[in-house]
Symmetry: C2
């Protein structure tokens, strides 16, 4: 194991290899024998559970309730909404049969041709269709609205090239689907959820994000508007971390979800949908981690503090155990998760490397001399700085340190990002500089042609029209035509 740790490629050498190796070595996830489907290992899943738990609470505070809708969707449902089918039919897993039978050689199983489905079923790539088909029966009057449902589930989109967490055929996510009586209320909900995502990213993941609207090309298939949060990874590439869609009446119309409004007229319900996925795990890893391994924000770290004793004799260990036991008790009382590792089968050096790799925010080391001196060695994972401090009051010290780390890694990520956002008005310059990553604020004439050309020339895409950026009109750097505002252009995961 200790040798494996040394094997981690440096970010400066190959950022992509560093990421792939880190996910596996830190035991977050691994490829399965099923093409494109990952296994999320316990340590990775524990982080995902923390993410789920915070988000779930935030959703519920806005009135959202959880529910569960079928995994399988009749093929014909997909075709009901014209744009939606274009976006999702091309990459889905299709169930055609419902039984296997023993083969003739009696040494395996084959698909039973007798058990062919009349209509094929699709494993959900997203659930607008099946959910709106259900809402049809729930809604009669404006009094039945809004419906504010969310589900935590697995979805599947057949991907040709996959990467752990970032792009997998099966992934876990939450998808919120709301139905409203008015356009205004639906738009407000879509924006509200975007801000829930953004707040979560910044306050818990310690990941600064840019909030904005997608261009028409980049919108969700079937949406009138897609709001997005975009984060910058350490290589200057963008990672779309959450989206919220204003779907207008498209799904209401496609699935005949009508209601009697206050004026006693039949109207189609207004829709939103919004989701974040296990992709957030990839964003978390790439925002903070370093060449020694993971760096986790204290608020999402499954274990926030690890304590390692250094001893020679059994008496010494007993004495340290005794001292540490009280500290652990106190920390847990304060809501801090702590692990005491006095395993005598592993050397301290191995433990140090392993906990660095796993990104435990704070490490305490207590040796015999510390006991004599009433001290403890504290290491913070974000800066790797060590300090010897008084053991008296260590609990409060640790609590403050965790808050400090949370704030520090956010600031570090923010500084990095802000140093890599550029206004750019010249396409040749853009084409040159985009190679090194970064977010480019460029005037855009609003046409899909310009967008396509940028993508073709540089692989970069329009990430969003950013909110909160003071816009002035100008000239599109590609077409030379007038442009009302600047957009963020970047390469993206």
């Amino acid at each position: 194991m200790a040798t494996e740790l040394k094997g981690l490629t440096k970010r400066s050498v190959n950022y992509s290899a560093w990421y792939n190796e880190l996910v596996v070595k830190a035991e977050l996830a691994e490829q399965s024998d099923v093409r494109g489907c990952m296994v999320i290992r316990p340590y990775g899943y524990a982080i995902w559970e923390k993410i789920q738990s915070v988000l779930d609470q935030k959703f519920k505070e806005t009135g959202v309730q959880n529910a569960y809708f079928p995994l399988l969707i009749p093929k014909s449902f997909l075709s009901r909404e014209a744009e939606h089918v274009e976006g999702f039919a091309k990459e889905c897993a299709v169930v055609t049969h419902y039984r296997l039978k023993t083969n003739e050689a009696h040494d395996g199983v084959v698909v039973d041709p007798e058990a062919k489905l009349d209509e094929e079923l699709i494993i959900r790539p997203t659930s607008e269709t099946i959910i709106w088909n259900t809402y049809k029966n729930w809604v009669k009057s404006y009094r039945d609205l809004p419906i504010l449902c969310n589900q935590w589930c697995n979805v599947m989109r057949w991907e040709m090239r996959t990467r752990l967490f970032l792009r997998t055929s099966e992934f876990l996510w939450q998808e919120g689907h709301t139905a409203h009586a008015t356009r205004e209320e639906a738009e407000e909900r879509a924006k509200m959820m975007l801000h829930v995502y953004a707040d979560f990213a910044e306050k818990y993941m310690a990941m600064p994000v840019i909030r904005g609207s997608k261009s028409e090309t980049e919108r969700f298939a079937g949406a009138l508007d897609t709001y997005t949060i975009e984060a910058m990874m350490q290589d200057g590439k963008a990672l779309q971390s959450g989206t919220s869609h204003f779907l207008g009446q498209n799904f209401g119309r496609a699935f005949d979800v009508t209601f009697l409004n206050k004026e006693q007229k039949q109207e189609y319900a207004w829709a939103t949908s919004w989701g974040v996925s296990t992709r957030l795990m990839g964003a978390l890893i790439m925002t903070h981690s370093d060449d020694n391994g993971l760096v986790l924000p204290p608020r999402l770290a499954p274990t926030q503090v690890v304590i390692v004793p250094i001893w020679k004799t059994d008496e010494q260990l007993a004495e340290i155990n005794n001292k540490v036991s009280a500290i652990c008790g106190n920390l847990r009382q304060m809501g801090i998760s702590v692990k005491y590792d006095n395993d005598d089968q592993k050397r301290p050096g191995f433990k140090f490397a392993d906990y660095e790799l796993k990104g435990i925010p704070v490490r305490l080391v207590i040796g015999v001399r510390d006991l004599e001196n009433g001290t403890v060695e504290v290491m913070r994972r974000d800066t790797l700085e060590k300090e010897t401090v008084n053991i008296e009051g260590i609990e409060q010290y640790v609590q403050n340190l965790l808050e400090d780390i949370q704030a520090n890694i956010y600031k570090k990520a923010l500084d990095y990002r802000d140093a890599h956002i550029y206004e750019c008005d010249n396409y040749d310059e853009f084409k040159q500089r985009i190679k090194d990553g970064g977010f480019f604020l460029c005037h855009w004439d609003g046409t899909a042609e310009t967008e396509a050309k940028i993508k073709e020339d540089t692989q970069a895409t329009i990430r969003c029209v950013p909110y909160g950026y003071e816009q002035t009109p100008g000239t599109d750097m590609v077409s030379g035509k007038p442009a009302k505002y600047r957009v963020i252009v970047a390469k993206a995961y």
Copy 2:
């Protein structure tokens, strides 16, 4: 809605119809347009979340960690374990293609024949195969054991006749899968988890269960031993509520999971698996509910207390609001979930019926005269008894009442069950009496022939060899052969 409530069939008239109607009318779940797949509605899902949250905590207290494994399983994996494939291949959803394309008429989509998978994939009916295929890479030495993983997920078994919660093609569950270095440790873990389930059923669901071992015929496909908890529904039928399997080395052998034991010899790992599912929702409903609707145990009720005001003037409502606001605050402080329903669009009578249907354990009604007298009307859902009590100290009164309801419905279910367990030594008598339901303790000669005959004659099955029942040898009531012990025979869901 109020008229719909009246439509609930009485249990004595048709227990099955009562159940089906209750699940839908209480808005717990409904059939979807996908054959055999249900929609779990927010109120039903909120109860499931409570179940999940308690169980998840209990699992973690025993050292279990959550993880996530792929939804899809290569067809060939199923065949690796001979008994397993027999048990599961016959009822599974098969993915054969990974793409749809626009049809020739351009008005729908069809399966793209070009996108046929080389090997078909099965939607997991249970995950032993894919998980043990993964464990292969995690285990080298006895030091890597035990592995204690659980996953909360959806599974699919193609069912011809489905009933909400009790038998659906897709259902939600948790499946624990552990790997051990010794037979003893694995057997101990399988039993430990059975007891976790039984404790949960009794303490949280207020549902008494009988713990026991399954007969060979009724074992999980691939298990050496299956432990079960069996509950009695109000119609005297059994509902298998959770199972835990000792799998021996069957999956270790099938997926080549070997380790170097302490004696430095290669050995196959020992396995267990254990699960409970959304079937528990059906058990919960059928154990306690009555002709007025759901009766929920306070510990699993999403809302434990509802408060309904009765008023005429705005001033009166304001006064009641004011009084209730303090009570709600106090109750929440005590960890009690409470809803205050002062909606002026619905009449009190409607609210009363609705909250009875939904099984809210405690209802408080506050009218104007109550305010004057310093009283409040309390109704407990389990007995429907009403009482007028002092509003002073109502919070403590409610807390005690919730505990009393929890204990009372458990006792009621226990008394019912115990009054319907019979020792029976005569097969003719058995055949007659089994028609009315109940658990029959019968001597069994241990043969599959006897078991099959009972099932053929009466549809009843051997539920388990019960634990904690003082066994004496006797004569098998069917075959007349010697029998070492009695088993529980019953009709089952």
